[in-house]
């Protein structure tokens, strides 16, 4: 049951569901969690191939990805707090004032 194809299926399913979440949702929190989900899918892929080739380097890359995700969480969440305080909404369509000018 634990074959390379089934593990690749699980990680690609996680990546795909994250990408679909980025495409389809408007809630900025859900978009952030979808990005995390895509990172998680890629982490699973890397660890699968680390076990397949019996090589430690992909696991190191996974540690780097997790560290970058933690740094990203700090910045992204503080930006979300600033945006929510100024606009009182979580809709990504409201945050287009810089591009449109008149929508405000």
């Amino acid at each position: 049951m634990i074959s390379l194809t089934s593990l690749a299926f699980v990680s690609m399913a996680l990546f795909t569901l994250g990408a679909i979440g980025v495409i389809s949702r408007k809630n900025i929190f859900v978009i952030y969690m979808s990005i995390e989900m895509m990172l998680n899918g890629i982490n699973l892929f890397l660890v699968t191939f680390a076990r397949y080739h019996f090589n430690m380097d992909p696991q190191i890359i996974t540690i780097m990805v997790i560290a970058i995700a933690a740094a990203e969480a700090a910045i992204f969440l503080s930006v979300i707090i600033l945006l929510f305080r100024s606009k009182k909404s979580l809709d990504t369509d409201i945050f287009t004032t810089l591009t449109q000018g008149e929508k405000s």
Partner: protein
Amino acid sequence: MVDLLFLGLSFLAIGGALAMIVYKDPMYSALGVLISMLSVAGIFALLNASFLFMVQIIVYAGAIMTLILFILMFLNIKEEDLPNEPNKFKLIALGAVIMIPLNFLVLKAVSKLPAKDLLLTNTDFGDIGPIGTVLYTDWLVAFELISILLLIALIGSIVLAKKRNKKVKNKGAVS
């Protein structure tokens, strides 16, 4: 036994990701993501990556998702603050149409690789000792750069959190 464990963990991982997309309330989405990340940590343990199993639970489930849940409760989001998404399921179908060919391609490429036994081994592969050795010899520059990146993120989030107070103070001084 290991097969059943893997099957259950992968179902929970994919189900949590589905719950993240489908639910309207971000709190339920965050709980779905939490379940999914814990299941991925379990799959890491099945793949002999014991250190990554702990890191995944501590950093992702312990720090990042707790931070997200804390901020969701801190912002006190009401029902009318949530954006209404009338054509969510249409966009989900569109996303699936876009992503399925890529999946098909990757799975076809991976299934052509020679099969190998991916079960648990008795070696110290993936333990904290060998990972530390590799991390501090071959990947030393990347490790130092990651530490600088984390420092910059720390300073950046403090600056972002402080900027607003300064502006309000300046306005008060002017008027």
